[in-house]
């Protein structure tokens, strides 16, 4: 290879590095969504059905506490292609640990480790957080299912101001004293790495000061070469090094053992969380549903019976963390802090929006129509291995009591306007 070729390679290499660098810079900075929309629609619609999600408060300073809370219904119609939720963990979907998690309770039970969840069960989670890294962060509740992976809930923005350097996360030890999780054990860890690393480099250096390779290889190829290279100085050094190693290990172990007389192994039990169940005076059955691809709408016909005492009106259909509301829903269930980009305030239409009277059974045609179906990539439903949809239908009586039904059923795609 001549000089010109080497130069060429250098130029090509630098262009490559520059391209990679630019890609990283431009791709990393507008971290708007981190892939939640790429999850398959049937996974998002028929596994964890999220509602009442709250990001509170939306703005915090470093070290302030915040709360991520909400409810989750585990769909009865859990897809066959997804492993059952026998080992699950309610997690926080965030770009790195922008918050630390102080406490996480699901239906009042602390959830430090993974545990089973029941199909058809309802779970309310309250996650206490402490602001750690300044920035504008997209935060999701997340259900991680062993064997299926993380299932992201709706994402909301949380802003953190201040300086990461001021962050502390103290925790009280059972035997007394407090440590900070940001720095605990750091100094001694670095000390031991430097100590052992130093001895390691010293050992290699002992052989580097003498001819290392070519000369030794030539000598080794001769008769008696092996003998000659068995240098007494090396044998002494090896005995000394063995002595030093065993002594340091012993001192380190016994001193540490007396320093921490009370230790516990890692804890890995599973919390047993009792589910609650959705309450509704309505019973609902999906008669038929189709998905209007060009019109970006899910149209369903439900047979609804009111078994209660008061008339009820349907106000919201929520699926995959995306909410479709009508006037009833807006009046009863409007959280001004809910991210507008995953909510369609005029997204739910009914041909007949008269209330469902006590004792009445009727077929209702519901149309949830919004560009969100496409923008949130739920239109990809047609590419899923199971052509079924799911979601939660919410209804209210006149005094504002909410009734929630989890529905699911087969869905037929409609590809052209003529077909519909």
């Amino acid at each position: 290879m001549n000089t010109k070729n080497i130069l060429k390679f250098c130029v090509i290499g630098s262009v490559g590095v520059a391209t990679l660098g630019l890609t990283l810079v431009f791709n990393a900075s507008p971290a708007v969504a981190h892939g939640e929309r790429s999850q398959e629609p049937f996974l998002r619609m028929r596994t964890a059905q999220w509602y009442d999600t709250r990001w509170n408060p939306g703005k915090t300073a470093v070290n302030d506490e915040a709360m991520l809370s909400g409810k989750m219904h585990i769909a009865e119609d859990w897809p066959r292609a997804v492993v059952r939720p026998t080992r699950t963990f309610i997690n926080v979907g965030s770009p790195s640990s922008v918050f630390t998690r102080l406490s996480s309770k699901v239906n009042g039970t602390p959830m430090f480790t993974s545990g089973p969840m029941e199909l058809g069960g309802d779970y309310e989670y309250v996650i206490k957080l402490r602001a750690r890294l300044p920035g504008h962060h997209h935060i999701h509740p997340m259900l991680a299912v062993n064997g299926a992976g993380p299932i992201a809930g709706p994402g909301g923005w949380m802003d953190i101001t201040g300086n990461h350097k001021d962050f502390t996360n103290p925790i009280k030890l059972l035997v007394g004293g407090t440590v900070d999780t940001e720095t605990a054990g750091l100094a001694q860890g670095i000390f031991w790495h430097i100590l052992w690393g130093g001895l390691g480099f010293l050992w290699i250096g002992w052989f580097m000061v003498r001819p290392m390779f070519l000369i030794r290889a030539r000598v080794l190829a001769q008769e008696g070469g092996d003998e000659l290279m068995n240098d007494p100085a090396d044998r002494v050094a090896a005995y000394v090094m063995l002595g030093v190693c065993f002594t340091i290990i012993a001192i380190g172990f016994f001193v540490t053992d007396s320093q921490y007389p009370y230790t516990v192994p890692l804890q890995a039990g599973a919390p047993l969380i009792k589910p609650t169940h959705l309450q509704s005076d309505l019973t609902m059955k999906v008669l038929a549903a189709d998905y209007d691809v060009p019109g970006r709408a899910l149209r369903m016909t439900l047979t609804v019976t009111n078994n209660g005492e008061t008339p009820l009106r349907i106000g919201e259909f929520t699926t995959a963390g995306i909410r479709f509301l009508n006037k009833v829903g807006v009046a009863n269930n409007m959280d001004p802090n809910y991210p507008a980009e995953i909510m369609a305030l005029d997204g739910l239409n009914m041909e007949d929006d008269s209330p469902i009277l006590p004792g009445e059974t009727k077929d209702i045609k519901i149309d949830s129509r919004d560009s969100l179906w496409e923008f949130q990539r739920l239109m990809d439903l047609v590419h899923d291995p199971e052509q079924r949809f799911g979601g939660l239908v919410m209804s209210w009586d006149d005094s504002g009591n909410r009734h929630i039904n989890s529905i699911s059923g087969p869905v037929i795609p409609v590809f052209t306007r003529a077909q519909g």
């Binding site: 997690n91 480790t113 062993n146 030794r216 540490t256």
Partner: protein, 291 residues
């Protein structure tokens, strides 16, 4: 009297002074940029693929799997690298080279990937160290000059010393804390408090299996088991070193037939010239003390 036998070794190499000088330049270029960086980059990748999570996270370092998996994986590369440096150069630093190299890679990752890019504090992703074990392994090879004895005694100590030499680094993380009325180790709490979106809690394998039942001495039982598997691994990887480190080349004989020569280290020496002849115009060497 000189500390080392360097002068005798140089004399025995029969290289002229300029050859000795050149060989030191080759040492410098070959050792640091090629051998050391090559080993640290590939060993780091190999180790992270096989035992990465155990080494990354403080709340994975249990008494059973961490203690079992780490020595088994960390003895593989040293086995092959030790074969190479010992067989061809009688250099007893293969294990120390591999494992300090691994840690150089680890610390680059901790600073650049974990701390700077992903914003995790370094104590949360503190790696274990096996440099102490590596030194013991290298010293055993130097003193026994036998890979078999090294596999039996050196590797045994390599695995058994893993827990006591790392206890000073991680004992603090086993102090008990109480959160929401539940007892946790500090390590569990750190795993909980630092949010890992893509690594949910259930991925951890904490003392699953029956080793736990041996009277509570889980860690020593695991280390013992690990030592036996490590011996096997060391032997296998020593043979991998042997397979990969084969050195031969093709020589054209007097009648124009090509044949394979295995002892390449003899090339260029007087013995070689005596056995295989010299180039036209070069007189045959005369060996002292031999006829």
């Amino acid at each position: 009297m000189a500390l080392f036998r360097t002068a005798e070794i140089i004399k025995a190499s029969k290289l002229p002074p300029e050859g000795v000088k050149l060989s030191r330049m080759i040492d410098a270029i070959y050792f640091i940029p090629i051998a050391y960086f090559g080993v640290f980059a590939t060993f780091h990748m190999h180790f992270d693929l096989l035992a990465g999570d155990w080494d990354f996270w403080i709340d994975w370092k249990d008494r059973q799997f961490w203690v079992t998996v780490t020595p088994i994986v960390e003895v593989m590369y040293p086995g092959a690298i030790m074969y190479y440096f010992w067989t061809f150069y009688r250099q007893p630093f293969g294990a120390t080279l591999s494992i300090t190299g691994l840690l150089v890679g680890k610390w680059i990752t901790i600073v650049l990937a974990w701390y700077w890019w992903a914003n995790f504090p370094a104590n949360f992703v503190m790696p274990a160290t096996m440099v102490s074990s590596a030194l013991i392994l290298d010293c055993t090879l130097l003193l026994t000059r036998s890979w078999m004895l090294t596999a039996i005694f050196g590797v045994w100590a390599f695995a058994m010393m893993f827990n006591p030499s790392n206890y000073p680094l991680f004992a603090y993380s086993h102090q008990p804390v109480v959160v929401d009325g539940q007892l946790l180790s500090l390590a569990d709490y750190m795993g909980f408090t630092f949010v890992r979106t893509g690594t949910p809690e259930y991925i951890r394998i904490i003392e699953v299996g029956s080793l736990r039942t041996f009277g509570g001495h889980t860690v020593w039982i695991s280390a013992f088991f690990s030592a036996f598997i490590s011996m096997l691994m060391f032997t296998i990887w020593w043979q991998v070193g042997h397979f990969v480190g084969q050195s031969f080349f093709w020589v054209k004989g007097k009648r124009g037939v090509r044949y394979r020569k295995n002892d390449i280290m003899i090339v260029g020496t007087d013995e070689y010239a005596l056995r295989h002849g010299t180039l036209p115009g070069v007189p045959a060497p005369v060996l002292e003390g031999k006829s």
